[in-house]
Amino acid sequence: MKDKILQLTGIQSFLSPWVNIFKGEETKKNINILLKSYIFPLLSILLFVLVWHTGATYLYNKEATSKIEKARAERGEAAALEVQNCIYSGEVGCQPNTLPSPAKVWEAYLSLLADHKIISGKKEAFAKKVEKTNAKRAEQGKAAITYTGRPSFVDQIGTSLKTVFAGFLLAAFIAIPIGIIIGLSSTLRTSMNWLIQILKPVSPVVWLLLVFMIVKTLMSDSDMDKSFMISFISVGLCSMWATLVNTSMGVSTVDKDFVNVAKVLKLSIGQNIFKVVLPSSLPMIFTGLRITLSVAWMVLIAIELLAQSPGLGSFVWEEFQNGANDSNAKIIVAMFVIGMIGFGLDRIMMVIQKMMSFNKEVA
């Protein structure tokens, strides 16, 4: 089992060349594998950072020059010199506002982490402070007092993950059963086809507005977290189509031999669905779920941004509106974090997909 997990997650293939080089087995071949699989990708990332750095420096200089020129044109030579000195002294207030360099982004990342530590500290202190009061309130049957201060970046990531998983589960719970039902009947499939094809390409923004209209009415007198509801339902509705289409496809294209075996064995409808149709379409269903999760993560940011629900999306939007000196750098930190989490989620789904696909290759 342990070996299988190592193999499926790709950890084995990651480690084996290193181990082999260490052992001195097939050194040349393994060095080649290392070069191809790790050194070159790392080099390409390095190259990317270099291009970024050069581009950012160019943009910085251009912005600085135009700032100085503007001061000169509007307020004369003395003002221009002042602005120039201010920029090159590195003072925060007069830095040109443009694409931040990799170094700045790294700084912003560290400051976000530090910020997280401070906020966690505050939270702990707060929890200690209200511990007794909360115990009392619990006895009286009242809700506990919770920390309502500003969330840290890491908290935002947690919220986003929570939303995306809620949306993903919703998508799975809607799409898989419907997919199975329409997969089993070609009449239902053709009758639903237009609807599905029309709804599938609808933009996340429109789904959000639609969900907003419905949720607003339905929950007008509830004190549940409306923005969370709206965003996770929208995420679910946007992302469920891949699973729906794949499930119905998988169910409707069960191997003809399997269908014949089921007929010869006279399996009942229930047995046929659970013993034959579902297992044989599991690989397709999980391919669909993998796409669904990546779509969910992609649209989540846009939806959070619009729905004003906490999370990475609103973090990005707030930073953009904020316009502080390191806002741009923070946005780019968020961009990389979003990318890396998306990559991680896709990897997890790939492992599950591989486990579900009776030893066939998965890209």
Partner: protein, 282 residues
């Protein structure tokens, strides 16, 4: 052991010239009767008749093989008997009852093993056994499955996933699954067509060995002349389609249990083979 220990083999060369002449009346009851059956596929250019007016009677416990050129409708005939394909005209009776749909009394071994790859070998056999013996205890069902898997040489692979087995091993499970259903008729649709010749030989032996014990009425579709002689009591030759029907038939009176070496060395063997080849080439 003397490897040339030849069993006494019945049958004379005369039977070749006129197969019907020397045949002793078969007193066994009819197990399968195909009466005037036809298969017609409607096409935009009019009906396409694959089989027409086909008559076939198979006695209980008889092993017949059906040969013919590819596309002549052999497999169509088999799937019609199995109930997997609609019968356009005529009737098929199994043990006196007319065939209307597929069922486990007519077990099929398909050309591709058609095992459920997500199940183990045992589970693949079990799913059928559960259908046929719903009232048996779990232990009894397991014993049936294990008995047949053991018989086809998979005694050590009960819990291997079907996807982990080789093509030949998978087809062994397919054979075990079919026999475990205790069918009235065993239908074999070119079961060894996708295997290499060595594995094919092995599986023919396995099939014959299990069949020898059960004596289930069997119909095997094949395009391999040697296979049809080695396995069958009677070889049915089908004419090429469209409007295919039974062109000729040949009794193979070699005594059972059969042994590959004995059959190949039997003086009549090449005459039977020649007779079949002659039919196929004309």
């Amino acid at each position: 052991m003397n490897q040339y220990n030849i069993n006494p083999i019945v049958g004379t060369t005369k039977s070749i010239i006129n197969p019907q002449k020397e045949i002793v009346e078969d007193t066994r009851p009819d197990m399968l009767v195909c009466k005037d059956i036809a298969k017609i596929y409607p096409t935009p250019k009019g009906d396409y008749t694959v089989l027409s007016d086909l008559q076939l009677t198979v006695k209980k416990g008889e092993f017949i093989s059906v040969i013919g050129h590819s596309g002549c409708g052999k497999s169509t005939l088999l799937t019609m008997i199995a109930g997997l394909n609609d019968i356009s005209k005529g009737h098929v009776f199994v043990d006196g009852e007319e065939v209307r749909e597929a069922g486990p009394d007519r077990a099929v071994v398909f050309q591709s093993p058609s095992l459920f790859p997500w199940m183990t070998a045992l589970q693949n056999v079990m799913i059928g056994v559960k259908q046929v013996f719903p009232h048996a205890t779990k232990k009894q069902k397991q014993d049936i499955c294990k008995y047949y898997l053991d018989k086809v040489g998979l005694g050590n692979d009960f819990h291997k996933r079907a996807s982990e087995l080789s093509q030949g091993m998978q087809q062994r499970v397919g054979i075990a699954r079919a026999f475990a259903l205790k069918p009235k008729v065993l239908l074999l649709d070119e079961p060894f067509g996708m295997l290499d010749s060595l594995t094919r030989g092995e599986l023919q032996d396995v099939l014959l060995e299990v069949w020898q014990k059960e004596k289930i009425t069997a119909i095997m579709i094949t395009h391999d002349v040697d296979e049809s002689i080695f396995l069958a009591d009677r070889v049915i030759m089908m004419t090429s389609g469209p409007f295919a029907k039974i062109g000729d038939e040949l009794k193979i009176p070699f005594e059972r249990p059969r042994n590959r070496v004995d059959i190949l060395e039997h003086p009549d063997y090449y005459q039977y083979r020649g007779y079949l080849m002659d039919f196929l080439n004309h």
